[in-house]
Symmetry: none
DNA sequence: GCTGCTGCAG
DNA sequence: CTGCAGCAGC
């Protein structure tokens, strides 16, 4: 089974890229999309259904939005933190559509778009940390019911120095600050491990390159899109890789797909 | 000597089209641009200067804006009505940057972007008529000092029925209403004649096609961009034509160049 | 409708 | 550098 994660930065603008990629990657069973940037009524379901995929969406206008594109029908589809956490815990966090999950062949696939956080100390940064605190509760509760969990998506955090093209300003940069790293590392202690690092020790592998400053051409990237697996799945994992080809296309997303196989 | 008029609908968005067109039309001495939509500090002068043109600009943020692009340096450059009319007459009309003129080889080239007027009876329509009243004074005063005057630009008025693709709703449509036509015709009585009509009697020649309803493909156009010449220049005129090629490009302006030669 | 701009977000 | 909303113009 293969699961892919791809922040497409607007599913409508990137529709051709995404359907082309699915055609080129017929072994991918579930494609997890982030930043679809579209309300559910306007999501282009037909192009995927015509390729015999099932589509599960949780979107909003202009920002955020997540989706699951699957060859087989999915079970137990859940949208938002509120699906399993009480309202008091969730608060307003589900106003932004960042969480969708479902089960395929006994594996819960959990697709996330973690807040970016803007800059250290900003209001959006506080939101990111608050969101991650609730995420931990959400994942803990999920792990109470399943031993096969694949948490993937755009985490907007690069855990290790080798996951970033440079060491400059690292500690003060959003996505690599000590607090963010510690927060994510702490979440993973509940029983999740990075599928990519099971197979690849080297740095220089990235999943996101800023649109600015020609950073893709200069390979000034970050590895911020991840597949985190529960122990049982981690054991079963046979591959995890980044496909940089879509980032080379005309008008690409700034992210590129990350695929795990188990 | 050749003078061209082109409403480019954003000189920054159309920069490639404009420089390409200049390269393809090396005999054009002065290119008059309208709707440059950029403040003077942000006008892309360098690409024109690298092609050895001189650039004279009178712009504002987001709306309107006119410019003169010239192979030779221009003399007596004037911006706005206020350059020769008293402030009492001009009022607030120079808040919108719609008038620039200069002299080349004894010919005053006067580049206009006449207000569109939105719809008959609207506030913008009243502004258009008020603007045209002041234009008449401005042109009269200009004709007191020169016998060689080339007034060109986007007039947002089609003087004759054959200058529009259809007769439908003509009288109630902005750009072809009787009042607008009479107002422009009255202005021309001070001593200006349509260079295009010296050479071409037929209808079906247009300079503007709405972006909507595939109107260019269906040739649903209007001839609203003009060169009006003082008698001496009109006598000397050897050609006047519309180049529809730029309207066929990707992401074109809705207008296309009109060129006069004398 | 179709485009361009501002302003925001990433 | 890109996408979107909201606006304005035509």
């Amino acid at each position: 089974m293969q699961v892919a994660s791809w922040n497409v930065n607007s599913v409508r603008t990137r529709l051709g890229h995404v359907t082309d990629w699915l055609k080129d990657n017929p072994d991918v069973d579930v494609l997890c999309l982030q930043e679809t940037k579209v309300v559910d009524t306007d999501f282009p379901k037909a192009p995927f259904e015509e390729l015999d995929y099932h589509v599960y969406i949780y979107g909003q206008k202009a920002y955020n939005g997540v989706a699951l594109i699957s060859k087989a029908p999915l079970e137990e589809v859940r949208m938002g933190f509120g699906a399993i956490l009480d309202q008091e815990t969730v608060g307003d966090l589900d106003d932004q559509k960042r969480v969708i999950s479902a089960v395929l062949d006994g594996v819960r696939i959990l697709n996330l778009y973690v807040p970016n956080g803007s800059s250290i100390g900003s209001e959006k940064y506080a939101y990111k940390l608050r969101w991650l605190a609730v995420l931990k509760q959400y994942l803990s509760k999920t792990l109470e019911e399943t031993t096969k969990l694949n948490v993937c998506g755009d985490f907007n955090i690069a855990l290790e120095n080798k996951d970033i093209y440079t060491d400059e300003k690292r500690d003060k940069h959003i996505m690599s600050s000590p607090t963010e790293r510690e927060t994510l590392a702490e979440i993973l202690t509940i029983g999740l491990a990075d599928a990519f690092r099971k197979f690849t020790d080297a740095g220089g592998h990235f999943s996101w390159w800023d649109y600015r400053a020609a950073s893709f051409r200069r390979n000034m990237g970050w590895r911020i899109d991840h597949h985190y697996l529960s122990p049982e799945l981690y054991e079963q994992a046979t591959r995890c890789w980044i496909d940089i080809e879509p980032r080379k296309l005309e008008k690409p997303s700034d992210h590129t797909p990350v695929i795990v196989e188990y």
